[in-house]
């Protein structure tokens, strides 16, 4: 172990810099060919995206500016009302409630997931191999469970009459949980929803981050420890910075997935939850569009969500793009 410290510690910095001069040389050789090739390589992916997204995006962008209800869905001509749908939703308190709720849900879940995932990744790094493999297989099973099935399990776990959770809590002496209904108040509803989403998402994050941690050479950590760094310092000054790229990709994916949560909420709402106060973006759009048949308003909400999330995530996106440029 110890005899490798010097070479590999010296090995790491040159690696990151080695790419710089390389990049500058390279275009000169391939300048001519390089003009058209990139676009040829991009075209299939763009066509693939357009096939699935082109018409829906066009439809949402135009419908948002039209009066488009059930009558129009069955063939009546849809009239342009321009920004009427937008003024309607922007002055609707229910819409703002959904916005606040969805963003809060997304942030809490994404950060909680990444934090727990990081903690578990560090735990896996510290424990002995048999325990680590047990954790890994447990997480793999949890991750691979179909969403519909895991939500069903949680519905049983939190069932007011026959659920395991109420049973345990009552056994522990908390009698107020006798027949306690978790789904009827928004706060406990989202508590359960958060548990489900976090339970489902932590495995991917933990396994990815653990994979990232394995690429940090032990020697660096060891060297820092010899130099007198505390465990917290090692975590924040060495481990976290060295897995920054995995960390930021995982956080980005998590934010996107948590913003798009739909099925979990939808399935839980069927347990008798108050729909109006438990809707997130997707569920609200679904209720307004498919439920009430007001497609114009639903389209306006979709575009509003898109604009809002782009605006909010802009600083993060920009820092990610800078990273891509620099590397």
């Amino acid at each position: 172990m110890t005899d490798t410290i010097a070479p590999s510690a010296a090995h790491v910095p040159p690696d990151t810099t080695a790419q710089q001069p390389q990049r500058r040389q390279e275009p000169s050789g391939k300048k001519r060919r390089g003009k058209l090739v990139p676009y040829l390589l991009l075209t299939p992916a763009i066509l693939g995206l357009l096939a699935g997204l082109g018409y829906p995006l066009y439809w949402q962008f135009t419908t948002a500016f039209k009066e488009y209800g059930l009558r129009q869905a069955f063939g009546a001509p849809a009239e342009w009302v321009w920004f009427d749908n937008f003024t309607k939703i922007l002055t609707d308190d229910a819409v703002w409630a959904v916005v606040v709720r969805s963003l809060a849900f997304c942030l809490v879940n994404a950060l909680l997931t990444v934090a727990i995932g990081l903690a578990l990744a560090l735990l896996m790094r510290a424990v002995s191999a048999p325990i680590r493999i047990t954790i890994q297989i447990a997480m793999l099973l949890a991750w691979a469970m179909p969403m519909v099935a895991s939500v069903t399990v949680f519905k049983w776990l939190f069932n007011y009459r026959t659920g395991l959770v109420n049973w345990v809590l009552v056994k522990l002496g908390m009698d107020q949980f006798e027949n306690y209904s978790w789904f009827s108040s928004p706060w406990t509803f989202f508590l359960v929803a958060t548990m489900i989403v976090v339970w489902m998402s932590v495995p991917f994050v933990a396994l990815s981050l653990y994979a990232g941690l394995t690429s940090v050479p032990d020697e660096i950590v060891e060297a820092a420890r010899i130099d007198g760094a505390s465990s917290t310092q090692i975590l924040w000054r060495i481990l976290v910075p060295m897995i920054k790229s995995v960390l930021s990709i995982v956080l980005l994916l998590q934010i996107i997935w948590d913003l798009r949560v739909f099925g979990q909420i939808n399935l839980l709402q069927q347990q008798g939850a108050p729909v109006g106060s438990t809707n997130l973006f997707g569920n609200f759009i679904y209720e307004v569009g498919v439920g009430r048949g007001d497609f114009g308003t639903a389209a306006a909400v979709s575009l509003f969500v898109l604009a809002l999330t782009m605006l909010i995530s802009w600083p993060y996106v920009r820092s990610l793009m800078k990273e891509e440029e620099n590397s």
Partner: protein, 278 residues
């Protein structure tokens, strides 16, 4: 890295609740899947008695004409979507990571913006257009929306990954006398494989697990497992189909676990872009 015994035990003690918390829902599903029909609602965590009736029901019995075609559809849709998505994303990410052209940032930006669009908003227009051009309830009718879900993310992940590959090795191989095809195949492909496998698994899982598109864009002939689960009914109308659903969940979990275990080494390497250096 010497750990004393006390530290070891405290770590093991911390790990225990983690494992339990992760496994409780999983074990419950397995337990429900092997519980005999009569004990289905007894709320025992451990099954009293063991039976494969539920598996028989969905594989050979009354629910098999619902489950088996759905399983086949899930596999076909998952494999096709994954293959196409990975190939297209690889091309695109290669261009972004390696070639110089204008509009690079624009592409990454649009890919991300598209990912923020609420999935449910795609469903209504796709439903309409799929019905009118005959893609409703077909395999391509599901593959195409899955591409639009997974391509943007795959492009992001892969271009980040490709940027970390030491491409100078390719030239080094050419200097050593390899043809450019050999250099690509023997040097770059093995280095790029982990990242490609990782995006492949994420893509496959997205398609395998999707509920929203599956339930709205199919009726009978292209229905996949997550949607089919919603149509399971008990043996009589008073019985909950929990046993059958659990057995189906167990069956569809296994291929994903096997896939991951099979490609574990590569996936781990793919997630740690740093590992290819060195």
């Amino acid at each position: 890295m010497e750990q004393n015994n006390k530290q070891k035990w405290s770590l093991a003690l911390v790990s225990l609740p983690v494992i339990i918390w992760t496994l409780i829902p999983v074990i419950w599903i397995f337990s429900l899947a092997v519980k005999p029909q009569a004990n289905q609602a007894d709320n025992n965590f451990w099954p009293r008695g063991f039976s494969l009736d539920n598996f028989e029901l969905i594989l050979f019995g009354g629910a098999s004409d619902l489950f088996l075609p759905a399983l086949l559809n899930s596999i076909i849709v998952g494999l096709i979507a994954t293959t196409i998505s990975v190939i297209l994303a690889t091309f695109c990410a290669y261009a972004i990571a390696r070639l110089n052209f204008s509009g690079k940032k624009m592409i990454l930006f649009v890919a991300l913006a598209v990912s923020f669009f609420p999935v449910i908003s795609l469903v209504t227009p796709l439903f309409d257009v799929w019905r009118s051009i005959g893609l409703f309830d077909t395999i391509p009718g599901l593959v195409i929306p899955y591409l639009s879900l997974t391509l943007p993310l795959s492009i992001w992940i892969l271009s980040a990954f490709f940027q970390q590959i030491p491409w100078e090795l390719e030239q080094a191989a050419q200097v050593d006398g390899a043809t450019s095809w050999q250099a690509f195949r023997k040097v770059i492909v093995p280095l790029a494989a982990p990242g490609v496998f990782t995006t492949g698994i994420i893509t496959f899982f997205t398609a395998w697990n999707d509920f929203v598109f599956a339930i709205s864009l199919t009726s009978e002939s292209a229905r996949t497992v997550p949607a089919a689960l919603a149509f399971f009914t008990g043996a009589s109308q008073f019985e909950q189909p929990t046993g059958a659903i659990s057995a189906a969940a167990v069956i569809v979990t296994i291929p994903v676990v096997i896939l991951v275990l099979l490609f574990q080494k590569r996936i781990v390497a793919g997630l740690t872009s740093g590992a290819v250096k060195g």
